[in-house]
Amino acid sequence: MKMLQKIYHFLGSITFALILIGTTALLVIAGTFIESLTDSHRFASTFTYSSPFFSLLLLGFFLNILVSALRRWPFRIKHIPFLITHLGLLMILTGAIIKNYRGVQGSLHILEGGGNQTLLLADTYALQIREKDSNVPRYVKLSRDLTGRFNPINTGSLHIEPLEYAPHSSQYWETWIKGGIGFIRGLKPFPVYQWDKTNPLPLSAKISLEDYGICRIHAFQTSEENLESLIEHVYLQDLTIKFTDRLTGKTLLQEDLKNILGKDIALPLVKAHVKLHIPYSSVTGLSEPNIQTYFTADKKIDEVSIALEGSESLLNKNISRPHFGAFPIAIDLVREPALCFVQDEYNDIHLFAFDRCGRISRQIYPASTLESILVYEEGFGGYAVRTILPFRSSPESRAECEKALLDHLEQQLREGISKGEDLAPPLELLQQTCLKADADFIQTASDFLAHWNNTNQWLYPENLPLPTQLEKVFQQMPSMPKACHWIAKMFTEIDPLLKKGDDPLLILQRKNWPLLEDLKGSTEPVHVLTGLTQQFFGVEDVLPLPNSIQEDFSPSKQARFFSAYLRAYSIHLHSILAPLDEIAKTPHSLAIETTLSYAYRKKKAETKMEENLPLITLQIGEGKDKELITLIYDRLGAGFQWPVLQGKYLLRFQPEFKPIPYRVRLRNARQVNYPHSSQPYSFESDIIVTHINTQKSEEKTISMNNIHETWDGYRFYLSSISPSTEGAVKTVNIVVNHDPAKYWSTYPGAVLLALGIVLLFWFKTK
């Protein structure tokens, strides 16, 4: 009994009060230091304000104040101020304790124009479970036992057993390669190899594609720095290069490209040197992959470039003399189509597709983010990524592309004629000739331009026979302006020098060309030659008749004169063909898919606890069905929900969501700047707060120093707006706070405390 009395008096004593105050002060100081050192409020509060010991301190204060008041029994009038003060303190403490356990503090994330009535309670753990055919998800709080382990949950017909927990983890997407194995939906899994450049390239799989034939599949793991080299190796595997004479159509050489790369190859009348460039980086992607071929004849080098990617891919571009036409040797690539999946050390997947004509396309699937995802049955059917492979589009090969360009030109000519547009004089002449020869004008024009283009000559060579159908037309061609004859004569003299690569201006200077001054303003050889051609027409009236004007000319010679006539009007295939991307294409693309999943890595917990992403492994059971699933914490509760039990449920590990009795609609959010400045002065949001039961609404503007409080104590604070730029729809974070004891315990307690203090002074004075 004496002992009890001693304890009783101690509980109400100044000594106990001082111990409590001192301990609380030390705890608060410690909390401040810990938070400052760790930069983590959560870490600090775990050991101080949120710890059970701090709750014990609060209880201690409560007992101390209560007992110190009760010790005054029996009470007298003079005790009134003292009792009022203590009652006030007890009410404040009660309010604090109730707020600690029953209060709410969470945040609402709202997109402008939308609304929300569900608070996200940060640093809490729950599972969101959504059943198929149900629009409304349910939230199940995850509670822990005294050892810190999560307790099993029974909800509806589900039994959820938490098996494993990690305080921190990281995640990355797994797409085409999962756990070192390649996956394409509808196909058997295929092996992924570590790339070793000293060994032959292994093949992961071969698949048969309808309408397309066999496609090879390669899959590798390698470091980012080896990517470029690997892609080149895979590209060169079984890739054949073919050289064809454009005029005769004869194949000059067909060989594995890797056998001739970087070497001088002998072709009839010319040597070829081929280089392959496939520059690739994981940041910028493919950077204009191409094949460059250098043809050497009589010490003159002609360069032909073939793009391997893009709208102009596979066209043989004559880099050295583009305005002379195509290089007389066409280059084609032939291979088996192939897919190559490469996973680098960051788990990013690089997918390369090589079509049967040698084109390359590439897509990247980063482990951290994906641009687009397929969602099946709102997630119940899982998620996937798809790629569209540009296989088998039409036109496909180089020859088909060149034919498509000519077809487009013919179509443009037909449209022009049907609209009654005027033809240039050389084309008018050809039209009249075709009428006489009973030949199709458009077809003839197109055939001649294409044939001439393949000669790689400024004018059509007079000794080169024409195809039969063209010969028939040119036999009927009437005599052309005398300027054409003189141009032909001039170029017969200067062609050999032009072929050697001599500068046209210098050639004309050596020949003492009288009108050289007018040509000196041109910087490009093509402009000099065009100018020279046009000069002949400019002075045609004063030109004498050439001696040959009375001769009967061969069709080839007529063709040469005609080409001079066309040059005067800058009509040459190179200058009148449309770009290939303007030509309509018919894609026959191939789409492949793979399921999407996350892979996780457990990590050591961070001191800054706010940055931790916990991981949980659950066994979900319904009746006899059981399934294991690992989920990473979704801090905002807005990410993917994962299907379980054959897609019957969707699950997400996230903070608790707590509905509040108010729906908040965000009308507008804005940053208000100082006048004539981009510095923010204030952040404001126009909201409509509607009580869900009564449907009574209030429109308010909340800002950084202007909160909204409802009659029942819900307080809405504007926490953040992002992005702050004008022109972007904003997302706002509103912190909501509710203290259920505020109006009946805390505030009245404060009033009583103040009254008690005043009365204490008054009574003392008296």
Binding site: E112, G115, N116, Q117, N668, E726, G727, V729, T765
Partner: protein
């Protein structure tokens, strides 16, 4: 004894301190704007906008179909004298999917083309009520007359568009199709009049919003 009244007085003064702006007099009022019909002349209220007092409202006839998007949903007139009026027309452009939407830049380009001569056009980004787009201001000549144009071309945020793309029934489908639509607000009139009512026009446009909250799962 003297301390108590001083203490009480200080307490009362502190309790009396409040920072509350008295409510401003009502100079504008909310008005509902109907969307388009589906060719049957039946229109539903879809939007609301805060309109200054004194602006004259002009709606299409009740039996007139405004399915055609070249017809306005509603017009407002600021009338000073018969020679000096500002005409404000509201349009929306309902679509079935994201790809059908007309970019705000295309609307602006179309307005620019209406000018025979255009001096100092200005285009700035805007965002409010879940929409993002552009505000165009231009002064020049249209059909020989000098006019100023202020035009907003706004598009619903893609996330909201998707939220409005899964209606539960036919009624919702019709209403949500209207809600998904882009909108334009175009004010045309004499320069001095538009400049005089510039603030009102800005507040008017920025108050334009959907009547109904855009659905979300939260």
């Amino acid at each position: 004894m003297g301390k108590v009244p001083i203490f009480l007085a200080i307490l009362l003064i502190l309790c009396g301190c409040q920072n509350e702006t008295p409510p401003s007099a009502a100079t504008s009022q909310w008005q509902e704007i109907h969307g388009r019909d589906e060719g049957d002349g039946i229109r539903q209220p879809i939007y609301r906008v805060k309109t200054p007092k004194g602006w004259i409202r002009h709606d299409p006839l009740t039996d007139e179909s405004i399915f055609d998007t070249t017809k306005s949903l509603c017009e407002f007139i600021i009338f000073e004298d018969p020679e000096s009026i500002v005409r404000i027309s509201l349009h929306n452009f309902p679509t079935e999917d994201l790809e059908q939407r007309i970019p705000p830049q295309a609307q602006i380009a179309r307005w620019k083309q209406q000018f025979e001569t255009l001096y100092t056009p200005n285009v700035i980004p805007q965002a409010f009520a879940g929409y993002a787009g552009l505000l165009f201001t231009g002064f020049g000549t249209i059909k020989g007359q000098e006019v100023m144009v202020m035009g907003w071309a706004m598009q619903l945020d893609e996330r909201h568009y998707r939220s409005l793309s899964n209606p539960a029934n036919q009624e919702e489908a019709i209403r949500w199709r209207q809600m998904r639509g882009d909108f334009t607000i175009k004010a045309v009139g004499p320069k001095n009049l538009l400049e005089k009512h510039h603030e009102d026009l800005i507040l008017f446009a920025r108050s334009f919003e959907l009547l109904e909250e855009i659905p979300s799962h939260l």
